[in-house]
Structure formats: C-alpha cells, structure tokens
Amino acid sequence: MKFLSQVAKYLTDGSNWSGHEGIPALVFNQLEISALAVAAALVAGVGLGAVLAQSRRGAFVVVNAANAARAVPSFALITLLGIQPAIVKLRQGSLVATGIAMFALAVPPVLTNAYVGVRDVGADVRSAARAMGMARWQLFAKVELPLALPVVMAGARTASVEVVATATLGAYVGYNDLGSYIFTGLALHDDVETFAGALLVAVLALAVDQAMALAERALSPSGHR
C-alpha cells in the first residue's frame, strides 16, 4: 500500500507534468510515433492488400509473409536499426529506428485485414459496379474500399494497440517516450518510477483501443453496423 501511494504521489506531482521529460510530452511522443507508423502501414497495407486480393495466389503470399513478419521480434529490430551508423548520425535517429520497427509491426494485421476485406466483396457487387460504368479505380475507391473499411479498421485497431504498447521499447535506443520512465526506473532501481511509467503505458494502450473501437464504428457504412 505504501508503494502504491508513492506511485500515486509520483503521478500527481506537478513537476512531472511539465517540460521535455513531463508526462504530457512523453505521451505526445508515444502517440506521435504510433500515429506515423500506423498511418504509413495503412497506406502500404491497404494498397498491397487490395492488389493481392485480385489474384488467386494472393492468399498464399499474404498469409505467409504476414506470419513470417509477425515472428520478427520488434525488440531485435529496434536495437539493430538503432546501432546502424546511417541512422545513429541522424538528428532524430531513435525516432527513425523506432518508427521503422513500428511500421513493420503494424503492416501484417493491416495487410491481412485489407486483403480479406477486399477479397470478400461479393462478385455480384463488383459486376453491378462495372455494369454501372465504373472504371477500375472507381470500383476500388467507391465500392471495394468502403465495403472493406470495417475489416480494415479492425486491423488498424489491432495494429494501433500493439504499436502504442511496443513503442515503449523505443526508449531503450533513446526515443523519448513513456518507456523513458520504465528504463530510467530500472537503471536507477527506482521501482516507483518504473511502475508509474508502466501504468501510464497500459492506460494509454487501453485508451487507444477504445478510441479505435469508436472510429471503427463511426467509419462503418451504416448498413454494416
């Protein structure tokens, strides 16, 4: 109980809520890198997923590539990128290293879902759209994508939660997010700081999950809700 009250004191201490090392700044950094990674993954994943959904060999490629990519530990990717001289010498090298690793983490769920979503658009819907005189790109933009959107968003939700949670590891290579509290706490044997940081990440991940659930519902075509 004494420990928990220390954590509460740490989290309510005004000095921890301002400046570059303050909670708002670190939460912002964590959300910033996550948003960048998921947005990039959405562009790449939806594009690739839609293309692969056109071919019959698509499923084989998607499932195997996504499974292999999922087995790559983010921790290894972040540290490997984090020591490359070309990245180290950048002004925001740790952001680049963490960002690329988070992009790699976000692509598989988005890609798989985009592929399934586009593939499962009915053949009759497609023929109807073509019969209405739609060009290929219109078919994608006005029919396939809107119909696949709920499934794509479900993938984006999974990816977002995983990325927000895992971006914490970026602090290990020097990216200034909530992981900084955890790693500083571990290095200084300050259990209170470690615990407070962990708690903040957990709450942030749950909040992102809820926010994405709302976005998922808002973006679903009304007939699909």
Partner: protein, 226 residues
C-alpha cells in the same frame, strides 16, 4: 562532429563459431521459457475456459480481464510485476509471458467448445456417456482444432516476447540482442533475431504436425472432397 560508429558487418561468422556454446544455451533457455509459459497458460485457461463454457455469465468478465492483460505492453507488465515477484527472476518473466497466452487460449477454448452443435452432446448422452466421459471423449477432441490453433498463436507470440524479458535479466536469445546493442555490434542481434524467427517457425510447424497426428479424422474428408 560525426560519430565514427561502425556496427561491423551484418554477420561476422567467426563470432558465431567462437560463441557457439553460449548461443546454444541461450536458445535452450529461450525454448524452456516458452514451453513453461505455454504449458502454464494452458493449465490456467483450460479449466477457466471449461468453467466459462458451462456457466455463460462468467464469459464476459473473464475475457475482459484477459483482454486487459493482453493490452498491457510486455515491458510494462514486466516492470509492473517485477517489484512483487523480484527483479531478474524467472517468475517475473513467466508471469508476464503466461498472461499474454491467456486471452489467446481462452478465446479459442471457449469458441471451440461453444461452436459444437447441441446434437453432439445429446448423441453422446444417448450412447451412455457420463458427463465427464462426454467431455473427455467427445467435446474436447472436437474442440481440439480450435484449441490447437490458439496454442499455435500463443507459442509464436511467446517466442517473440521472451526476447523482451531479457531486459529484466531472463530472456534467452534476447540477451544476445542486448549484448549487440551495448557493444554496438550487429552480429549478436542478427543471430538473436534469426534464431527467434526460426524457433517460432519450427514451433509452429511442430504444432501443425501434432494437430495432424491428433486429429486423423480431419484429414480424410478433406482429401475425399478434392
């Protein structure tokens, strides 16, 4: 000023051959940590899944609790548990690893059992099975594909997560990753990454094989249909 940093070639083979013993023992530790986590995870989620299947109201709170555990990031969960179970202990690593398996396993166990049509239970009872016999000989075997699918996902996930537990002194191959980072040296990280991916692939392949052996009746109709 430019840092004259060089992380060496991507793979320095001589380092691998001179550290073969360490690499193998870390690989073994990685396998051990994974096996314990999946076994304990199954040990916890099987009875809980059965309970939730018998007693429906238990399902939402159980899945919600497992869901919360699943969303907590691994390094955060490790650091949350560490002050309670001791820093750098196997228990700390396992508590975190097991909690990630729970949601995956519970979902699949409950889904597998509840997808069985009621007629299955009725026929079993008509054939004179006791409640326990019905569960052991009819329902669990029929739910096995779903359960094993969960075990596959859980195993692959845990193989990846074990690396992170290295930050708290365990972690098998994760220790190679930390070594590479602190020494600014590519090879150990690449070895850790590649072995981790291969281990996940091998575990998955083994489980697919186990599924085929355990469920011979699932193969025949498939072939007949083709």
């Amino acid at each position: 000023m430019e840092l004259a940093a060089s992380a060496g070639p991507l793979v320095q083979w001589s380092w691998i051959s001179s550290n073969e013993g360490t690499i193998l023992s870390l690989l073994w530790q990685h396998i051990e940590l994974t096996l314990i986590a999946v076994a304990v995870g199954l040990g916890i989620s099987l009875p809980l899944g059965l309970a939730a299947w018998y007693w429906r109201p238990l399902r939402p709170p159980l899945l919600a609790a497992a869901g919360v555990l699943y969303v907590v990031p691994s390094i955060a969960l490790l650091s949350l548990v560490a002050p309670l179970t001791g820093f750098f202990s196997v228990t700390t690593a396992e508590v975190a690893l097991v909690s990630y398996t729970l949601l995956i396993l519970l979902r699949n166990i409950i889904a597998g059992l509840s997808s069985l049509p009621a007629s299955v239970g009725e026929s079993a009872r008509a054939m004179g099975y006791s409640a326990l016999g019905e569960l052991l000989h009819v329902q669990l075997p029929l739910a096995l594909p779903s359960v094993l699918a969960g075990v596959r996902v859980a195993t692959v996930t845990v193989v990846g997560l074990v690396n992170v537990t290295a930050l708290l002194g365990q972690g098998g191959l994760g220790q190679l990753i930390i070594q590479g980072f602190t020494e600014d040296f590519n090879t150990p990280i690449v070895v850790g990454l590649v072995l981790s991916v291969l281990l996940a692939g091998a575990a998955d392949a083994l489980l697919v094989l186990a599924e085929r052996l355990a469920l011979p009746w699932r193969r025949r109709p498939k072939r007949a249909l083709k």
